[in-house]
Symmetry: C2
Subunit: 351 residues, 2 copies
């Protein structure tokens, strides 16, 4: 079993893959006829069709996709592009289920998925342009893209594109979004129903759509519930654990500190929990918390996290379906919104 020192070169003992010409010859028909037969086109006798099919399977014939692309113009593949690199996009807890959902639709449609290099780098962008202008894909799924510039403008005019979890300010690109405002409302009302009057919000201070919407949903719910919109209840931080921890440190010292917190992202929720614990607060007795995003850690942490559960797979599936609609020349709504649910666990103190 110890073969570590061996060196291997690519085997070259295989014959070239068989072409349609081979199939036609074996079946005793012309090349176009073989093509018709294999593509289930009318105008071929069933006897011929059978003969061609048998020849094809005998020769393990697989169409050369480049040749087919060249003439049909279709590539049967789509690109997934994001702001991060190849696997960065997949490591994000939020985007992963979206990609799972989109992937299942795309794979079922028999399409291939090309991972475009990250936007933001020059080389990444030029490779993406090559993919788009070189007609290597039939459509683009842009996940969590922030850029608004010429890239997307070009996409819009040259290639079907669906935006996932973001909107653009200036260009009307169809998007599939989580209903962040709705989720914030669910969380805030849940805490209010448990008797909390001073419900704080720790949100992301970036300029992305979801951050705005989440805050708007929180504010709207407070107003609707007739609760105070006290500025001291609200903290905006960078969207990471450490920033949330640092940014909320001073929050717990005040006499009229919030008795409950709605955290606008999963990372922020973790940071808030750390910070509160460091101040000696017991969750949920001293502080109730509702997080966002129903990720692995929501169940794993102690106590388990009450959270707004984003339906990522559904978002991804819908986005892929809409992209196919666009590819097939159908029109799609500019904005498709998927509502999240509330998953009640222990940190909100409901039981």
């Amino acid at each position: 079993m110890q073969r570590g020192h061996q060196r291997l070169t690519r085997q070259t003992g295989h014959r070239a893959p068989s072409t349609l010409r081979d199939v036609a010859r074996v079946a005793g028909v012309s090349i176009p006829t073989a093509s018709q037969a294999l593509n289930d086109r009318p105008g071929v006798s069933s006897a011929t069709r059978t003969r061609v099919r048998e020849a094809a399977s005998k020769l393990h014939y697989t169409p050369n996709s480049a040749a087919r692309q060249l003439i049909t113009g279709r590539t049967d593949s789509i690109a997934v592009v994001s702001g991060s690199n190849l696997s960065g996009i997949f490591s994000d807890q939020f985007y992963r289920p979206i990609l799972t959902g989109a992937g299942s639709v795309v794979e079922n449609a028999g399409y291939r998925v090309l991972i475009a290099p990250a936007l933001g780098t020059t080389s990444g962008e030029s490779q993406l342009m090559r993919m788009v202008r070189g007609r290597e894909v039939d459509g683009v799924l842009a996940v969590g893209i922030v850029a608004t510039g010429w890239i997307l403008e070009m996409f819009q005019t040259a290639m079907p594109i669906i935006l996932v979890d973001n909107r653009l300010r200036d260009i009307a690109v169809p998007a599939v979004l989580n209903d962040d405002a709705w989720g914030a409302g669910l969380a805030t009302r849940h805490l209010a129903e448990l008797g909390h009057r001073r419900i704080g919000f720790v949100g992301a201070m970036n300029d992305e759509w979801w951050a705005h919407q989440t805050r708007a949903g929180y504010m709207g719910a407070l107003a609707q519930l007739g609760l105070a919109q006290d500025g001291s209840l609200e903290v905006l931080v960078a969207n990471n654990i450490e920033a949330a921890r640092q940014g909320t440190r001073t929050l717990w010292g005040f006499a009229n500190r919030p008795s409950a917190i709605f955290a606008g992202s999963g990372k922020i929720a973790i940071g808030v929990i750390k910070s509160a614990r460091e101040h000696g607060l017991v969750i949920p007795q001293d502080l109730a918390i509702v997080g966002t995003g129903d990720h692995d850690f929501a169940m794993m942490i102690d106590p388990p996290l009450t959270t707004v559960s984003v339906h990522g797979e559904q978002i991804g599936r819908r986005a892929a379906e809409l992209l196919f609609d666009l590819i097939h020349g159908e029109s799609v709504p500019e904005s498709t919104v998927i509502r999240p649910d509330l998953v009640v666990r222990s940190t909100s103190g409901a039981f």
Copy 2:
């Protein structure tokens, strides 16, 4: 800003992408000359070359990749295939850094990455065959594949392939592996140096290479250290949190229970911690633990986990480099092994 009800169809106002013929016409040369000029081939006067380049950039010319593929036989893309679906492979804490590393090498080489559908399903396999036999990729990176059947045999003879984190029993396919045995040795010796004599092992009982190697490393270290290889010190469980928790429940009751545990995977480490805590043991005072895989949670859990840090990015980079070697016709070692390091945090009780 509320434009939700609008419906959008693909814009068709764009002209067809420009071809080499357009470039040649604008530059006032023949098509082959334009081709030579743009591909930096000798035998073109620098004046002509400049004129062609200018025409190309003016027309936003991008070569049609299908046409180029058809004639050169190269696709400039590789497939990543795994046992899981599109994003399942990326959600695994172990594989993600591997893909990050591989991705950076592949993208730098200007290659595209095609995500192959999961093996194991009929449709996935047939789509993969289509990709391979249809010559849609130049090589395959197979991550954590367990199958040994005809699929890989075919790969080996028809297409360059590198296996990551696995070996095959019957076929000599070049592989890049983590040195699991080395890591197990590091962990075991670390615990012995801290004074532990009864060092237990909770490992995965599956049939994969890493599981065997990890156990072998543990056993080897015990022997080398002159410590008991007591069968009661060893528990093999399925590789998930719950199985590890259940499977180690009875471990803590014995008078001569282990004072330290080496957990053979990240998931197993979490399960062991849960189980030990449920039995009232305090970590690391009552039980020292060394885990495997330096993932996010290793730092996040309390106390932070001492763990064998697998160099996933390096594994991925190496795998991609070897794949390119294979694609370029060079030979590669059948087995490339990357050594992990030990990251000492709190659970082992070193400080």
